[in-house]
């Protein structure tokens, strides 16, 4: 009897809150952003830092009065890196009238591509998703807004070339990658460049979850003996690779990690800054706290009488969260301006995103230019290197082999 009553009480409470939730959307004049996160799934190490960065930036904007008089409400949904909840999240965003959404995860982006197009809501996938999505004509509502895996691959080779004295002819480059679609994606570019630049490339796959790669590292350092290593790993595996390479005596200054193998947490897990000394990382957003916007966020916390959160120390992912939020806000700002101050709809925000140009946020964002044709914004990256206990910028914003990337994009476009 009592159990029965209690269960119905639960149902009633839930129904009530559902109704409440539905009502809240009308409470205030505001613009809704949707944000998908993975705080508990296999890439939780990213989500638990990146998403607070996003939230903090929006809070900062709101604390300063919002965007052209519009407050922003962020609806964050943790999908645990599962696809069906990502679909549900999208539908929820749509219901709440979100004008854009930050998607998270390559399979999630793949599953949402069509929905975004049907529902005419733009979705961003910075640093992941398919590289072909840079083509705004083919994927009108998908916005990589940061260097795709192709651009990262191109940049990595460009950096290797620079490090190896400006010529790759006859050199050997090892590509160690997570054995999934994202890991394989840069291969097309790398193979192409191997031919045109005349270097020998060999690939070394690391299957998920990549907690151990003794054999692959042995193969690289013992048999292949490359001049340079490009590492495209995820999750826990970057730290394992750093540790193993160090253990085998390979100079980490001859290693560059793509964007998901490049965070402070990877270095800490590898055994600390001393171990990783010399390790190079590719970044699509600025690293460190030396940005006005980061200082503003710290000031915002202090003004509330709180200490800045620990997440801020993990600057790589935190800044990426800020980066995404900033671009979202900028797109909104453009849209509001274009509408003369009125509240824009999602279609207008998309056009706002497509007119982002010269927005650098004090160097945290590259000099990107997003256009209807190029949703990637140019594929800019920086190189930061582990030096003396911190990440130091060694190469400012650059594009690696933009021509080759463009050629591949054109080839993709002609396929469909």
């Amino acid at each position: 009897m009592t159990r029965f009553v209690r269960s119905w009480l639960g149902v009633a409470a839930t129904t009530a809150t559902l109704a409440l939730g539905a009502g809240q959307a009308f409470a205030q004049k505001e613009v809704v952003f949707g944000l998908q996160c993975d705080r508990t799934g296999p890439t939780a190490n990213v989500g638990t830092v990146l998403c607070p960065g996003y939230q903090d930036y929006i809070a900062l904007v709101n604390s300063k009065g919002g965007v052209e008089g519009h407050k922003i409400k962020v609806l964050e949904i943790d999908h645990e890196y599962k696809v069906p909840p990502a679909i549900e999240a999208h539908e929820r965003f749509k219901k709440e009238g979100a004008v854009l959404e930050g998607v998270y995860g390559t399979p999630q982006m793949a599953a949402l591509n069509k929905k975004l197009e049907e529902d005419k809501i733009l979705g961003t996938s910075p640093g992941f998703g398919t590289a072909a999505a840079a083509d705004g004509k083919r994927y009108p509502y998908a916005f990589p807004i940061a260097a795709s895996y192709w651009s990262q691959g191109g940049a990595a080779v460009a950096f290797a070339k620079e490090r190896l004295g400006g010529n790759l002819k006859g050199k050997k480059i090892a590509y160690i990658f997570y054995d999934n679609p994202a890991g394989k994606e840069p291969l097309a570019i790398l193979e192409d460049l191997a031919k045109s630049e005349g270097f020998e490339m060999r690939t070394f796959a690391v299957p998920a979850p990549g907690l151990e790669m003794g054999a692959q590292i042995l193969d690289i350092t013992g048999r292949f003996k490359p001049d340079f290593i490009i590492s495209h790993l995820f999750g826990r595996s970057p730290s394992v690779s750093i540790k193993e390479l160090k253990g085998k005596g390979f100079p980490l200054s001859k290693v560059v990690g793509l964007v998901w193998a490049s965070a402070e947490s990877d270095i800490i897990a590898a055994g600390g800054w001393g171990v990783a000394e010399g390790y190079n990382t590719i970044q699509f957003a600025g690293v460190g706290k030396d940005f006005q916007v980061i200082k503003d966020i710290e000031a915002m916390y202090k003004a509330q009488g709180k200490n800045p959160p620990k997440e801020m120390d993990s600057t790589v992912y935190y800044n990426r969260g800020v980066f995404i939020a900033a671009l979202h806000v900028e797109a909104l700002r453009n849209a509001i301006k274009a509408k003369g101050g009125g509240t824009p709809n999602s279609e207008e925000v998309k056009r706002g995103m497509e007119s982002i140009k010269g927005f650098t946020l004090g160097g945290l964002v590259p000099p990107m230019e997003i256009t209807p044709a190029d949703h990637e914004g140019g594929g800019w990256v920086q190189i930061w290197t582990v030096q003396g206990g911190k990440l130091v910028k060694v190469k400012d914003w650059f594009q690696g082999y933009r021509d080759v990337i463009q050629k591949h994009l054109a080839a993709e476009a002609s396929k469909s």
Binding site: T48, D179, E212, G214, A215, D219, G222, K248, I268, G272
Partner: protein, 297 residues
């Protein structure tokens, strides 16, 4: 030629040492299964929890040895509690129920662990240095050497315990038939709790060693995935099986990555051990050292 041999030897050594590290995790699983018939799909989360506790305690500036003492105590308590609250009510229920319950435990640990003990990735430094140990052409990271030593040590202690000590025999009797064991004057509940507590100790040290190797955060739990091919290959209820199973899996992974991957271009080491495991199961359905179920019609 010589280089090839050296490479092969290095692969073997690398595989063997990581394999013993796998055994370290698998041992906890086997202990619980052997004594209580329960299948623990949360073994990885146990290790994660242990690692998190250690780094949290270290965060209070306490010495490492104190942190290890704390984690061993906490994990023993945790094992006790888990057995009492979750596993005992499930006695005699289908395998899938126990599997699912421990998957539930895993979810709870992954959900609450980081909330309480900290989300961020933390290092777990052990005072054993980074200089690799040289064994001929092969090199061995000191942490893996330590893991191997601990695994072998556990193996010796537990083998003795189950074969020679009266408590060990009683524990096996409990595993065999709880009701009869009770009637023989054996406090079954105490022995179940003891088994989980032993698993807790193994997980605690597993957490220290793997945590030191990988750093500590939620993803440390992923080591649990390695348990299955090891214990199935070795036999679910065999301490020695966990050791040998770990060695074999480690070596097979290593050889697959070294010799198979270049031909197929992909990460075969993920499933190569599983293929081997299935082949073994086809010949010995209870693993290499597992006990045959005595079935009568």
């Amino acid at each position: 030629m010589r280089e090839d041999l050296e490479f092969a030897f290095a692969l073997l050594m690398s595989g063997a040492s990581i394999g013993l590290m796998y055994s370290l995790i698998a041992l906890g699983f086997v202990l619980v299964y052997k004594a209580t018939d329960a299948i623990n799909f949360a073994q990885g989360e146990f290790v994660m929890l242990a690692g998190m506790i250690v780094v949290t305690v270290l965060g209070f500036q306490s010495p490492l040895i104190a942190a290890i003492a704390v984690v061993v105590m906490v994990m023993i308590g945790f094992g006790f509690g888990l057995e009492k609250v979750v596993l005992r009510p499930l006695l005699g229920r289908p395998v899938v129920a126990v599997i699912m319950a421990t998957i539930g435990v895993a979810a709870v640990l992954r959900g609450w662990g980081p909330l309480v003990l900290g989300i961020e990735t933390r290092a777990l430094p052990l005072p054993i240095g980074d200089e690799p140990i040289h064994l001929g052409p092969a090199t061995l990271p000191p942490i893996q050497a330590l893991g191997a030593v601990v695994a072998v040590l556990f193996f010796v202690v537990f083998s003795w315990f189950f074969k020679k000590s009266r408590m060990g025999v009683a524990m096996r009797a409990v595993a065999d038939n709880q009701q009869v064991a009770q009637a023989m004057g054996i406090n079954v509940e105490r022995y179940f709790a003891l088994a989980w507590a032993m698993a807790g100790i193994v997980s605690a040290l597993g957490g220290v060693i793997w945590g030191s190797m990988l750093g500590v955060d939620v993803q440390l739990a992923l080591v649990g995935l390695k348990v299955f091919p090891v214990v199935i290959l070795g036999g679910l209820d065999s301490i020695g099986g966990a050791l040998i199973g770990g060695l074999i899996i480690g070596i097979v992974e290593s050889l697959a990555a070294g010799y198979l991957d270049p031909y197929v271009g992909g990460g075969t080491k993920d499933f190569a051990p599983y293929v081997l495991m299935i082949l073994v199961l086809m010949i010995r359905p209870y693993g290499i050292f597992g006990r045959r179920q005595i079935e009568r019609v």
